[in-house]
Symmetry: C2
Subunit: 367 residues, 2 copies
Amino acid sequence: MTDPRAERLAAVLVQYSTSIQPGDLVAIQGMPEAAPLLLAIYEEVLRAGGHPHLLVGLPGAEEAFFRLASDAQLEFVSPLNRLVIEQFDALISVRSDRNTRELSGIDPARQRRRSQAMSPLLKTYLQRGAAGELKWVATQYPTAAYAQEADMSLRDYEEFVYGACFCNGDNAVARWQEVHQRQQRLVEWLKGKREVRINGAYADLTLSIEGRVFINCDGRNNMPDGEIFTGPVEDSARGWVRFTYPAVTGGREVEGVELWFEDGRVVRATARKNEEYLLQMLEADPGARYLGEFAFGTNAGIRRFTKNILFDEKIGGSFHLALGAGYPETGSRNESAIHWDMICDMREGGEVWVDGELFYRDGEFVV
Amino acid sequence: MTDPRAERLAAVLVQYSTSIQPGDLVAIQGMPEAAPLLLAIYEEVLRAGGHPHLLVGLPGAEEAFFRLASDAQLEFVSPLNRLVIEQFDALISVRSDRNTRELSGIDPARQRRRSQAMSPLLKTYLQRGAAGELKWVATQYPTAAYAQEADMSLRDYEEFVYGACFCNGDNAVARWQEVHQRQQRLVEWLKGKREVRINGAYADLTLSIEGRVFINCDGRNNMPDGEIFTGPVEDSARGWVRFTYPAVTGGREVEGVELWFEDGRVVRATARKNEEYLLQMLEADPGARYLGEFAFGTNAGIRRFTKNILFDEKIGGSFHLALGAGYPETGSRNESAIHWDMICDMREGGEVWVDGELFYRDGEFVV
């Protein structure tokens, strides 16, 4: 018998996140590690009247590809990938690595070459997604590799993942509908507002959100989810912030990051550990010193940091900023090759004021 | 490290069976049970300059499909299947069941409905295959399920499978090139011949092969392989045969089958076990009482019967007949919904005469 939590997660992904309809062409992507969840999704899609297609990879294949492929092979875009991205109605991706460091030995230049070749298809994917033609959601199966990354036993990590997806109990779909409504009220309240001030032991920072849109991340594209975010006005940030959690990217952790902003730009940056890497990243391109995102994490089922951005950025009672590329749908115009999320816990004290009104205190919304 | 036998089998499939060329679109089908072989094939295709696509299923998905699918879902032909069959250059299928009885509880009518929906695509597959546009090969990974079916330990069964594919030693590709040449000489010798007479403790049977073509099964479409076959003239068989191995089909075994032919037609049939089933099958349609195939198995690496037609029909020193549908490329015109292979060991005595010349004795070709 399948873990009932995996069956509940499958129901959320198919009934709520992608809302599969009769006749929908549905791709289900993942690795054999996630077989119980993939199979539960497959069955849910059949019950919804859709046409499920399992696109299952094998551990080691991606590493073999990057190790062996010629330039022509690296740059080849398969008609099979095209078909799924250009014509399918839904794509349910289940992250399910057996080893999170599988590509450690691969030359990043080869990965970049591959990414460049795939970027037109990525653009189609995002465009069809924004137009509502392609429903997509990314989730994660609790594999031993992710548990290890989070310094947890597999059993505890399963509880953590399913808890974050509200799949430990029977009313998972209803819980996500509530998240949608609760966040929608916040997003509505923020419409037309101009200035955000973050205040506390870890920050004294002002941002403009004038003309910008907050997005309700309610479990349609990410599972778990629980976030509202926008792109701040590019030249507006001023002040200081110290991130309480390590900033993780490209397999590296930078601890104790502190940033100082003037006219939107990072003018000073320090870190307790791996400061050199932080400074390098800021030099990636001109946009790397500007903010692309400002967001609140709202998921009360995520209480701890696990070095995994799908979960960390949604920690209930945190806010995060991202250096680099913004999301155009927020109104952001910042462009960069990087998008680096850095997260700050507010549960132990801190306030956010919006246009002079107290909006958020000690990790809770107060409006 | 991958089992070197799986790496040799991958080399045979890619270098010899399908002869993958730079730029070829290659589908690699199988189940996660066969991951070591699938991955070795994936790497070989990359080395050959092809574009490998893993099409990996999950145990349980097919059963779930047949259990849950509506008629519309059963009859749906996916554009993804179409793409592979209509446009790919090669298809390497690795049978790799975790349970050979997985579909035991499924209503055969649902399977038939599915087969009917897929039959135009199957036709395209065979047509493109015959035209050399789609190179295809079917092989099998030694899973525990097949070992169990064969009454063998997994270790012994691996030896059996890789031995049958000549992959226990280093010169696997060269061995298959030799098979091609040896069988080609036999096929050439048989050209223009008219009459076959099988004689011995198990048979006294005469067939006409006038105007018919023998096909050299040299490892291009099956791995293992080792067979030459034709379709006998439909109304020519006369005499008697007793098959030394059980006739297996649809999960049933009929033991000790004996058939009597007059003017090509089975006029009497008996069996030691499951005779009733044999008689039922003969009533399937008019073509079911006529022969669609006459063949010699030539694979010296296959010495024993394992209830698996991919291997059994190639037992070195055996011949087999099939009741029902013939292969048009041989000249056969027999049509039927069934194609039931029945195998007879000739190693313990028996002769085959062709146009009055001794062609085969005690399991060996003598020309």
